[in-house]
């Protein structure tokens, strides 16, 4: 062959190769608005025989897509250039599957939003043909016949389970109107397909089951619900319902008390870390956070994880928001492992919680870790948070409205952490603090002019904070001050704080209000504005000044701004003599015919420019009608005040005594005290080991008072003293009225705290909105994937299904589009 011929052939070959190598490796899944994913065993056109697939709802495409979990590629349609489309009624949102346990194909059902496409009907179960390669909707099971008396037939939740004794499969349908329906499926021996029972069983629950989860035994269902769950005795419980739905209705229903309503639920047997104990030599168990309960999985306790409903959790409710742990064995919340709170602290999530799932170690392969140093022959899985790899028993995956899915280390009771809690610059700490004087001390026109007494911190608190031999004294130096705040891992959050002398209460500063002179001769002040409406809507409450959560105390200073008789801006200040609270009965509080729907503050009458202007009430005998006058109202603490941006009012420190914002049993508390301790509840459980020896303090640098990161402690604590600005090391006597008079109003110690926590999450590499109902999947049974770690598949509304493993990093997330 000539050189030209060889060159020509080479060119053609290169062109052909180039032509073959361009373009994507696959046609893509082409999801349009996926909302849910389930696994099922079935037959498809992809290959012969029964095998597992993933079904994904494409809500905007009005179809299902089928994905092969082994290669994460879609099953193709007949044309082989598009993924298979399984058309459904408009807006498929929910999926469920169940095995009939007979070696045949699973039942797979899908529910679309509202009607089945026919305007006449209500929702239907659309049953997918999983038993032949012609994957399509095989038949429908109408659910409109189960409409409640009020006509409600909205499908809230869906779950498939296998009936015992080879009786087939059952699909449970949570319905609005507080009902649960069941449709049974059996095998049609003639076709190999499934057939639905002619009757749909329905039970009235009395609560809406918005999410369902099946226990590992496959016989009990847990239902999250925002409604009170009726229990015997005419009472109700907020939390998760238990339903035993495998028999004929009525199905037994019970309740797990979560202290708050719930929105999503997951369940599994979970092996947890041990607490550890010291040995005879006084050595603590340094390995405890990494050692798990022994024994087979089957003896581990069934634990139910439920995301609380944001409507009724948080610092003003009985429990903080997040994911709680419930024990069916006790019917309530799991106990606090350190015996402080009456329950295990919820695992906090950012945003509004969504669906959850639980990942187990794979069934086989090297990713099923059986040779962990501290846990030989106990199946564990690797996790890879930013703070370092670690083995654990179970990982919770929780979706959030912020477009992320958060990873929870269920074996260690809390969220995974991407940063170091106890070490490095990220650790829980006070990174900044200083003592500041207001600018008014420099203003000759101010009453604060020339005052020189400032706030400082004592160096004898917290324990061991000062080096041995240090003379007890007070500190102003901003480089030293941070070391004299006590923080506690698991409690202290990132926040901006301020200790202020006679500061204004956080929600009671500069508010629109009224003042009125009463028939009793004093003055009542309220933070409310006239709306011009009649009746109960006549006043817009600016602040419920009578509410103890806001922290007003008798003796505080009520400051009024007004315009004096000459038309000039003026102000008055008077001590608060009494707080008028709205009656608990809900009756309207009124003083001299003026309604005070948010409560009020009583102060003495005065001769200042604002108070003296208040018109006298018109009285007839003992009955008076007062005349409210609009004003600006500020309530200032009479002494020291602790506030934060996140928590608002945080209490009243006193001079020369430690002040700790710390949780205490809530049972017998009320008012302000209850409000404060609720703000100081534990947020999470640290997983760093205790100091090596019993009684040893300060093994972690920066925490000289700390023996065990897991131990309870204050959210923040400190001891405030006084110094003269010119003599910073000499403490002043805080009982000396002259010293107190020398403190300028608004003298303060502002400081910051950081939590040491950055929760581990996963999200798509690009985009990522609206994570939906996800799935954990073990691929170790597939050839070529024997050693794969457990994976999670999470649908996102922006047309992608992500696949990730908690054993891999954030950068290893795969998006299937």
């Amino acid at each position: 062959m000539s050189a030209r011929g060889i060159l020509g052939l080479a060119f053609l070959a290169a062109a052909a190769a180039g032509g073959c190598s361009t373009g994507p490796r696959s046609v893509g899944v082409r999801l349009a608005g996926p909302t849910a994913v389930v696994r099922y065993a079935g037959v498809t056109s992809k290959g012969p025989g029964l095998r597992e697939y993933l079904a994904v709802t494409a809500s905007r495409g009005d179809e299902l897509r089928i994905v092969d979990p082994s290669d994460e590629q879609p099953v193709l349609g007949p044309g082989l250039v598009f993924p298979l489309s399984v058309p459904t009624a408009p807006r498929p949102l929910q999926l469920a599957s169940a095995t009939l346990d007979d070696g045949g194909a699973d039942v797979l059902v899908v529910v679309s939003a509202g009607a089945r496409g026919a305007f006449l009907g209500g929702p239907v179960l659309q049953v997918v043909n999983t038993w032949t390669p012609y994957t399509t909707i095989a038949f429908e099971v109408p659910l409109d016949r189960v409409a409640s008396a009020a006509g409600e037939a909205d499908v809230l939740s869906l779950l498939g389970l296998t009936l015992p004794g080879g009786a087939g499969a059952r699909v449970l349908v949570g319905l609005a109107g507080g009902r649960l329906a069941a449709v049974d499926f059996t095998r049609d021996p003639a076709t190999g397909g499934v057939v639905a029972s002619p009757a749909v069983a329905v039970q009235t629950l009395g609560f809406d089951p918005v999410d369902l989860a099946l226990d590992p035994g496959g016989t009990r269902v847990y239902a999250a619900t925002p409604d009170p769950i009726p229990v015997p005795g005419g009472k109700t419980v907020l939390g998760v319902a238990t339903i035993d739905p495998t028999g004929a209705p009525p199905w037994p229903v019970g309740a797990l008390d979560a202290l708050a309503p719930t929105v999503s639920v997951a369940v599994d047997r979970v092996r947890e870390r041990i607490l550890g104990a010291s040995d005879d030599l006084g050595n603590t168990d340094q390995t405890a956070p990494d050692r798990f309960q022994g024994g087979p999985d089957s003896i581990q306790p069934v634990q139910v994880y439920a995301a609380l409903d944001n409507r009724a959790c948080g610092p003003t409710f009985a429990i903080n928001c997040g994911v709680v742990t419930l024990l069916p064995s006790t019917g309530g919340l799991a106990p606090d492992p350190v015996n402080e709170l009456p329950y295990r602290a919820p695992m906090q999530l950012a945003g509004v919680p969504g669906p959850m799932t639980i990942l187990r170690p794979p069934a086989s392969g090297t990713s099923r870790i059986l040779n962990d140093t501290y846990n030989p022959n106990i199946p564990l899985m690797l996790t890879a948070p930013g703070s370092g790899q670690r083995n654990t028993s179970r990982v919770g995956v929780a979706a959030s409205s912020d477009g992320r899915v958060y990873l929870l280390d269920l074996g260690r009771w809390g969220p995974m952490n991407d940063i170091s809690l106890m070490r490095s610059s990220t650790r829980v700490s006070v990174p900044r603090a200083s003592s500041v004087q207001p600018t008014t001390v420099l203003d000759p026109a101010s009453s604060e002019y020339g005052k020189t007494v400032g706030l400082a911190l004592w160096n004898d608190f917290p324990q061991n904070a000062a080096a041995a031999g240090t003379v007890t004294g007070v500190l102003l130096d901003p480089t030293l001050l941070p070391a004299f705040f006590q923080v506690t891992p698991g409690y202290t959050e990132a926040d901006e704080w301020r200790i202020t002398w006679q500061g204004s209460l956080p929600q009671l500063g500069g508010r629109d209000g009224i003042a009125l002179r009463t028939g009793a001769g004093d003055v009542v002040v309220a933070m409310q504005a006239a709306t011009g409406n009649a009746g109960a809507a006549a006043w817009l409450v600016g602040a419920q000044v009578g509410n103890p959560e806001l922290g007003a105390h008798p003796g505080d200073l009520v400051h009024l701004d007004c315009t004096d008789a000459a038309g000039n801006a003026a102000s008055d200040e008077a001590p608060l003599t009494a707080i008028l609270q709205v009656p608990a009965s809900g009756a309207t509080l009124a003083v001299d015919s003026v309604p005070l729907p948010g409560g009020a503050l009583r102060i003495p009458a005065g001769s200042g420019p604002c108070l003296s202007q208040l018109p006298a009430p018109s009285c007839s005998g003992a009955s008076c009608v007062a005349v409210p006058v609009t004003t600006l109202v500020t309530v200032r603490a009479s002494g020291l005040l602790l506030t934060s941006q996140g928590l608002g009012y945080a209490g009243r420190p006193t001079f020369d005594a430690p002040y700790a914002l710390q949780w205490a049993p809530e049972t017998n508390l009320a008012g302000e005290a209850l409000s404060l301790v609720r703000k100081a509840r534990r947020r999470f459980y640290p997983t760093d080991p205790p100091c090596p020896s019993v009684g040893q303090l300060g093994c972690y640098a920066g925490y000289p008072w700390l023996a065990d990161p897991l131990a309870p402690g204050p959210l923040v604590a400190f001891k405030v003293g006084l110094v003269a600005q010119g003599a910073p090391d000499i403490p002043l006597d805080s009982t000396d009225p002259a010293v107190l008079a020398g403190i300028p109003r608004e003298a303060a110690i502002p400081f910051s705290t950081q939590s040491g926590v950055n929760p581990t999450f996963r999200r798509p590499g690009s985009g990522g909105a609206g994570p939906g109902r996800m799935l954990g999947y073990d691929r170790s049974g597939f050839a070529g994937h024997e050693n794969d770690p457990i994976r999670a598949f999470v649908p996102f509304l922006d047309d992608q299904l992500i696949s990730f493993s908690p054993s891999e990093s954030l950068g290893d997330v795969t998006s299937l589009r």
Partner: protein
């Protein structure tokens, strides 16, 4: 240049000028809608219930002249349509869409926005003839169109109010009437106010114009809402709170803000929804009938892309409906805590509450249904706030194994049931206990009229006595 070269250039120039079209000033049509935006309803006599004997439902539709086919400056229109009379012509032989029975119409500027109605039902104390308020983005003008009881529309002297010259694209209009102080510290006095939002402002600032409807001579007042332009407003007459949604101004800030008319001169209170829904941008807003919740339509953009390009990406990732808690906190304002985030299709825009019928004595009043238009995906979603679930999506024609959807023709398979780009939305409680949903298709230029049973919204539309679905389209399809 020589004479020989100059001449051809001159000739070419003359030729070019000869071929140029004169500027169009075609008036907008008076018998059809054209890229409709705002919808609202009026009942005559005021306060009557739609469908009750003697009650006329007037549908007011603002057409935007979006493609400037008609007069560029004043090619928009506002038409009043007699709904019952229009639907009465919908026999079995009637062609669909139905021709509207137009009671009156008037020209307005192009690129119209939302419509607000000022009459005794929407504005206590209103004594004059009813007015429809609608802003034109092209003219930067608010039109105060006088409505006759017979549906005649008049835009006479004083009808067109120029808005703030330094601001652009006025869009949302809300009427707020009640007793409010004029300034801080003053006693409340009867006032009739209108607030106008601006989609485009210098520096991405948020501004509202406040106009005094009772005193046209009173100076317009501009309210500064700081960063993020305003989109829509909703007024709660009981608390006097005016809620304001906002558009994109930068990554990380998606504010829902409110002011209280009972306490003027106060800075707006702000809640940043970005913290809860990453990439959220607000659009429409509605309050629940018990005023304890707000429903905000969100468009969700790609934050990473927005960060890299330094602006709002043109495409959305998804839509959502945020359900916010408006119950007051001890400190005064509502927490506006997000209780739920409901996934929606792309392009979520308008939100309306569909009230539930009153519960039986002793029974708990069920929460509202909420309708949202999603223009980009051409759908309307109905969310049930009692069940916390989406109960109905009006999506596409002829898809699904069960066949028909009840939509009128034309409804070719694959086409949107409601017509492309559903946008304007209105809800009418009916005397028969049903709720009537009005959905404008911006692209097709018709308005869907759909009756639904609030107890069974998933089965919408309901069936009429003759067995036909209660779903009509009004307005000729745009060619």
């Amino acid at each position: 240049m020589s004479k020989h070269t100059f001449l051809p250039v001159l000739l070419a120039l003359a030729g070019a000028l000869a071929c140029g079209d004169a500027p169009l000033s075609t008036p907008p049509p008076e018998d059809r809608f054209y890229f409709p935006t705002g919808l609202t309803l009026r009942h005559v006599p005021a306060g009557c219930l739609g469908g009750a004997p003697g009650c006329q439902t007037q549908l007011l539709v603002a057409s935007s002249n979006f493609d400037l086919r008609y007069d560029a400056a004043n090619g928009g229109s506002l038409l009043a349509v007699d709904v019952e009379a229009t639907l009465a012509g919908a026999g079995s032989n009637a062609t669909s869409p139905l021709s509207p029975v137009v009671l009156g119409g008037t020209r307005i500027g192009s690129f119209a926005g939302e419509i607000a109605l000022a009459d005794p039902t929407t504005c206590p104390g209103w004594s004059g003839p009813a007015q429809a308020l609608v802003a034109s983005r092209s003219q930067n003008t608010l039109y105060k169109v006088t409505l006759g009881d017979d549906g005649a529309l008049t835009c006479g002297a004083g009808c067109a109010l120029p808005l703030a010259g330094s601001l652009a694209d006025p869009y949302g209009v809300t009427v707020a009437c009640g007793n409010f102080p004029v300034a801080q510290g003053e006693p409340p006095t009867p006032r009739q106010l209108a607030f106008v939002t601006y989609l485009r402002t210098p520096g991405g600032e948020g501004w509202l114009s406040q106009l005094d409807l009772a005193d046209p001579g009173a100076p317009r007042r501009e309210l500064d809402f700081q960063i993020s332009p305003t989109h829509s407003t909703v007024f709660d007459p009981v608390t006097t709170r005016l809620f304001v949604t906002s558009r994109f101004a930068g990554v990380g800030f998606s504010p829902l803000r409110w002011i209280e008319l009972a306490t003027p001169d106060r800075l707006p209170t702000t809640v940043n929804l970005f913290d809860v829904v990453r990439g959220a941008e607000l659009r429409g807003l509605a309050l629940s009938t018990d005023r304890t919740r707000a429903y905000a339509a969100l468009r969700i953009y790609d934050v990473d892309l927005a960060t890299s390009i330094g602006g709002r990406p043109s495409n959305d990732l998804a839509g959502a409906l945020a359900v916010l808690d408006l119950t007051p906190l001890p400190g005064g304002p509502p927490s506006a805590r997000v209780l739920r985030v409901v996934p929606l299709d792309k392009g979520a825009t308008e939100v309306r509450v569909i009230p539930r019928p009153p519960a039986a004595a002793g029974a708990e009043q069920p929460r509202d249904l909420v309708a949202v238009t999603s223009g980009d995906d051409a759908t309307v979603t109905i969310y049930d706030d009692q069940a916390g679930a989406i109960v109905k999506v009006f999506a596409t024609c002829g898809v699904g194994p069960a066949g028909a959807s009840g939509a009128p023709t034309p409804c070719d398979p694959g086409n949107p049931l409601l017509g492309r780009q559903p946008f304007g939305l209105a809800v009418e409680p009916r005397a028969n206990g049903l709720q009537r949903l009005y959905v404008g298709s911006f692209d097709r230029s018709w308005v869907n009229v759909i009756d639904l049973d609030p107890a069974r919204p998933e089965s919408a539309p309901v069936l009429r006595a003759d067995g036909a679905p209660a779903w009509w389209r009004i307005g000729a399809e745009r060619p």
